[in-house]
């Protein structure tokens, strides 16, 4: 069993996304620890990219702030090493193909294993291109996480059959960001997923309230939240850990129906 699957061991999972280096790595480390304390079951660490084409304005701005602050892929591996001294929940990277490709796919995966990363999500690498990245992950026991979208339709079965770690269900059309309402028939998508794989699936894009998170987690195996957390970090800067921890606890409680 992959380490990522452990995130789904104790009921519905809450997955928190944080952009590394926004506004600095100390804050990122504090926010990750606060999120874990608040009940996050899996942490997605965003490696910032200059041109994040799958992100909405909130995470785009976080990427810009982080890069302006001088964060690099190597410094982020250093952050992971530090976090792994006490953080035991699974952690995955979320970044763009060029960040991994330019580092060298094999070298990037080696560093993931050395520092304690469990997998990666590359939103600009669809099923058709994943064999450029997935074998290097597989060889080292890292999971290459796939995404399905509301437009995937007949592609869902194909993607689900080769899914690793967990399957990321994109709730809505468009880019990341808070939405007042999610109109996609998530239940139907999950049904298709379940028919083709036993890997857990979690829903992301647009979730910000405990009620939304509960609804999405009830339909699947978990909820993923990015923009709402990143927004808190943008508002509170270096003091964000407290608010992030409280928010994650509220979301996790919501999912658990507490």
């Amino acid at each position: 069993m992959s380490n990522i699957a452990r995130a789904f061991d104790h009921g519905k999972a809450f997955i928190a996304f944080i952009t590394c280096g926004d506004p600095d790595l100390q804050t990122t480390a504090a926010c990750v620890r606060a999120a874990v304390k608040g009940g996050a079951d899996l942490i997605e660490l965003g490696i910032p990219f200059s041109d994040p084409t799958a992100e909405g304005p909130v995470i785009q701005a976080a990427n810009e702030r982080a890069l302006k602050g001088g964060v690099t892929t190597d410094k982020i591996f250093g952050l992971v090493e530090d976090l792994r001294r006490d953080v035991t929940v699974p952690m995955v990277f979320m970044t763009y193909a060029n960040v991994v490709y330019s580092y060298g796919i094999e070298r990037f995966c080696d560093r993931c294993v050395e520092t304690g990363i469990d997998g990666m999500i590359l939103p600009d690498v669809p099923f058709e291109e994943k064999e450029e990245f997935a074998p290097a992950c597989r060889a080292r026991g890292l999971d290459f996480v796939s995404l399905i979208a509301p437009t995937s339709e007949h592609r869902v079965a194909m993607i689900a059959r080769e899914a690793e770690g967990f399957l990321y269900i994109v709730s809505s059309m468009g880019v990341t960001g808070v939405r007042s309402e999610i109109t996609t028939d998530i239940g139907a998508m999950v049904k298709l997923v379940r028919a083709n794989t036993s890997i857990p699936c979690a829903v992301g894009f647009g979730i910000s309230t405990p009620a939304q998170a509960k609804k999405m987690a009830d339909l699947s195996d978990g909820a993923i939240v990015g923009s709402a957390i990143v927004k808190l970090i943008a508002e509170h800067g270096a003091d964000a850990a407290g608010p992030v921890g409280a928010y994650v606890k509220a979301m996790k409680d919501g999912i658990m129906g507490l």
Binding site: F49, T53, T73, N98, E131, A149, P150, R155, G174
Partner: protein, 396 residues
Amino acid sequence: MTNPNGRFGVHGGQYIPETLMNAVIELEAAYNEAKNDPSFRAELTALFNEYAGRPSRLYFARRMTEDLGGAKIYLKREDLNHTGAHKINNVLGQALLAKRMGKTRLIAETGAGQHGVATATAAALLGMACVVYMGVEDTIRQALNVYRMRLLGAEVIPVSTGTGTLKDAVSAAMREWTNRISDTHYCLGSVMGPHPFPTIVRDFQPVISQEIKAQVIEKEGRLPDAVLACVGGGSNAIGAFYHFIEDKSVRLIGCEAAGRGVDTFETAATIATGKLGIFHGMKSYFCQDEYGQIAPVYSISAGLDYPGIGPEHAWLHDTGRAEYVPVTDDEAVNAFEYLSRMEGIIPAIESAHAVAHAMKLAPTMGKDKIMVINISGRGDKDCAAIARYRGEDLHE
């Protein structure tokens, strides 16, 4: 192992969010069907000839030839097309294809504004809605084209993220496409992006080299020795090169925007300074830092101010079939003024990059040699910016 779909050597591919995958698969199927349909070809040819004013002229630049004292220089006058650039060739093809797919709305990115104007024009012609994304810096550099697009009924959305230039306009258009696919076609303006765009755009532009070949044979009874074109993403260049790729005696030369020079950070010369990477849906060469962050490139030319190059050009570079040379702002501005005075033709500042290299190359070639420069667009849009570059306080 990489997916062989839509590859030019190692370049190309489909590096896009899952949300867009079915859209590009549907586009590829519709395109394959359309290109084999004689009625589609006939309709496009009729639009090329009756609406865009094709074929464009191949003009012998007598004074320039005499002044430079070397190869005979011909100018392919894509600047004389309707809307003033080669961009209309691709746009008419894609707009017809979109209409055939039942789409009612076109979105596009634009740098200099020429592709945006062409898309707005085709949308007006075919009764479609149109939204154009343009870097906020470029809306200032190319204010006249912003007005032109609005006049044609398009909505222009200034993009202020990143460097506020062409790459950010492409990102914004891609984001909008993931948001709204069912009624919307993304009319990409160059031979770039995810498969099938580099192939579709390439297939709508070779009319340029097809015409050059027939025209030069008619005038000279033989093939040219060199064909020059400017390269940003590379659509006019691929159009000018395509039918000569098999003719190994013809040198194919792409002229990149070096900005303030390839030894500075203010450059957009991708082949000269970039390295292999993955961005905007494709694998190709990109200007980037050691961690793969895309570089904030610079050129005086908004149309060449892009950190990448189309995958087929990257492959023509790898195989050595085409050469790519950097041309600085200064050289391009000199050429802009030179062609205006020498031949009475004001070229687009983009095309002036090819003219600038021709001015260096022609004198080194014998008088029995023949060179063709693709004048991809006209320069009216650039006059105010060039005047300011020369220190005049001219605003539109």
